[in-house]
Symmetry: C2
Subunit: 227 residues, 2 copies
DNA sequence: GTGCACATGATTGTATACAACATCGGCCAC
DNA sequence: GTGGCCGATGTTGTATACAATCATGTGCAC
C-alpha cells in the first residue's frame, strides 16, 4: 500500500486523510481498507478507524460489506450519471451566485488554484492535479457563501473523482483547465449568466469524456482480461 | 417471541427510528440524546447508539458537542436559508423529470400520500402529517429515478422539518396541501414545465412562511425573554 | 486429478471496562 | 450575600477483549 501521511490524529483527521488519498487516486476504487492495517498506519486504535470508515461510508466514498470489510467505492455507471445529474442542477446556478459575490481577492485565489494545478501536472503528480481541479469547484461554492451546497458539492466532487478513475476515456486531463480558465474570465468580468452557462457546459463535457457504456468493470472483468 | 422482528435494533434501525422521531417533531430541536438513555430505550448497547448518532450527525440532524453529548440539531437562520436554497436548485428540475417518467400508478400513490396526510391532520397527529408532507417531496425524487438526488433531498427535507419546528410562523400547516394538490394535477397531465414552476413557487412559499429574522432563538434568548 | 468437507487463521462485529471531561452541589473567603 | 474554589457524580471518549463470520489451505474420497 502506498505510504499515507502517518500523521496521528482524531477520527476526523483520519477520514480527511483517507478522503484526500481517494480524491488523488492514491487509493483506487476497490482497494480494501483493512481496519488493523489502517490502525497501524495511522497509529490509532481500531475504534477511530471504524468511525472514520463509517463517515466515509455515509458519503458513499467507501462501501461496507458485512463481515468482509470496507473498500474504496466503485460507483456504477448509473451512479455516475446520477452524480453528474446532481452536479448539473447545483453547480451552474451556484457559479452564478459566486460571480455576483466575487471579489478581486477571490479571482486571484482561483487563478492561483489553477496555477498550482498546472504545476502539479507538469511535476507528474496527476492525482494531485485532479484533486486541485476538483477543489476548484468546491471553492466556487464557498465563494457563493453557501456552506450547505458546498458540503454537497464536495461529496459529489470526490465521488466524481472515483468515477473518473473508473471510466475516464482519454489519458490527458489537460483539456479541463481551459474550461476553468474560461470560468475565471467570466468571474473576473462578474458575468453571472456566462459563468452559469460555462459551468453547465463544463459539466456536460466532463460526462461526455467518460466511457459510460454498461460494462460492469467490477471484479469480473474476465472477458476484458482474456481478450 | 420477541424475536419476530428480525435484527430489530441494528445501528441503522436506531438511526432510522430517531430520524423519524425528529421528522415528526417528537424530538424537538435541542433535545439531549443521552447515550445511556437511548441504549436502555432501544435495548441495545452504547456502541450501536453511538454509531446511529454519528450517522445522524453526518446528516446534520444532530449536533455533537465534545464531552457533552449529542443534541437534536438547531439550525440557524443562515442554515435555514441555505437548506431552502439547495432545495430550490434541486427539486424543481427534479419535479420536471418526475413528470416525464410519471405513470398512473405513481399518480395514485402520490394522491394516497396526500390523503394519508389529511387523515393524520384530522386525527390531530400534526407531526405525522408534516412528516408525510415531507415524504411527498422525497417520493418525487424517487419517481424521477435519481437515487443520489433522492438521498440529498431526503436529508434536506428532514432538516427543513427542524427549521419548521424552530421558525414556523403560522400554526396551521393546511395551506401546504393545496400546493401538493396542484402538483399532482401537473403530474397527472404530464406537464413537466408546470410541475417545475409549481415546485419552485411552493418552496418559495415555504420560506416566506417562516420567521427568519435574526433572532438567535438559541438558549441565550435573554434579550427577547427580558423585553 | 477433481471436488468437497473441514479445520485453521484472519478479520470484522459487539460489548464492556476504564479514563477523561463536564456539570453541579456545597463550602469557604471576602 | 456574592463570587469563586473544589470535590462528588454522571456522561462521554477510547481502548481492548471476546464472539461471530469469512477466507484459505489441507486432506480425503471418488
Amino acid at each position: 500500500m502506498t505510504e499515507i501521511q502517518p500523521k496521528s490524529g482524531t477520527a476526523d483527521t483520519v477520514a480527511e486523510s483517507l478522503e484526500r488519498a481517494i480524491h488523488e487516486h492514491r487509493l483506487p476504487p476497490g482497494t480494501k481498507l483493512g481496519e488493523d492495517e489502517l490502525s497501524e498506519i495511522y497509529g490509532v486504535s481500531r475504534t477511530r478507524i471504524r468511525a472514520a470508515l463509517q463517515a466515509l461510508s455515509h458519503r458513499r466514498l467507501v462501501e461496507h460489506q458485512r463481515n468482509r470489510g470496507a473498500f474504496v467505492a466503485q460507483p456504477t455507471v448509473r451512479e455516475a450519471h446520477e452524480v453528474f445529474e446532481a452536479r448539473a442542477l447545483l453547480e451552474p446556478r451556484t457559479a452564478r451566485s459566486a460571480a455576483i459575490r466575487m471579489t478581486d481577492a477571490h479571482v486571484t485565489a482561483l487563478q492561483a488554484h489553477i496555477d498550482a494545478e498546472h504545476a502539479a501536472l507538469h511535476a507528474g503528480e496527476s492525482g494531485r492535479a485532479l484533486s486541485l481541479s476538483g477543489e476548484f469547484h468546491i471553492e466556487i461554492a464557498r465563494i457563493a457563501d453557501q456552506s450547505t451546497i458546498e458540503a454537497i458539492v464536495q461529496q459529489l466532487v470526490v465521488r466524481s473523482s472515483l468515477i473518473i478513475a473508473l471510466y475516464w476515456r482519454r489519458r490527458a486531463a489537460l483539456c479541463e483547465s481551459h474550461a476553468h480558465g474560461a470560468l475565471i474570465d467570466a468571474f473576473a468580468a462578474r458575468d453571472g449568466a456566462l459563468a452559469e452557462e460555462l459551468m453547465a457546459h463544463h459539466l456536460l463535457d466532463l460526462v461526455t469524456s467518460l466511457d459510460l457504456r454498461n460494462q460492469s468493470s467490477q471484479p469480473g472483468s474476465l472477458k476484458a482480461a482474456l481478450a
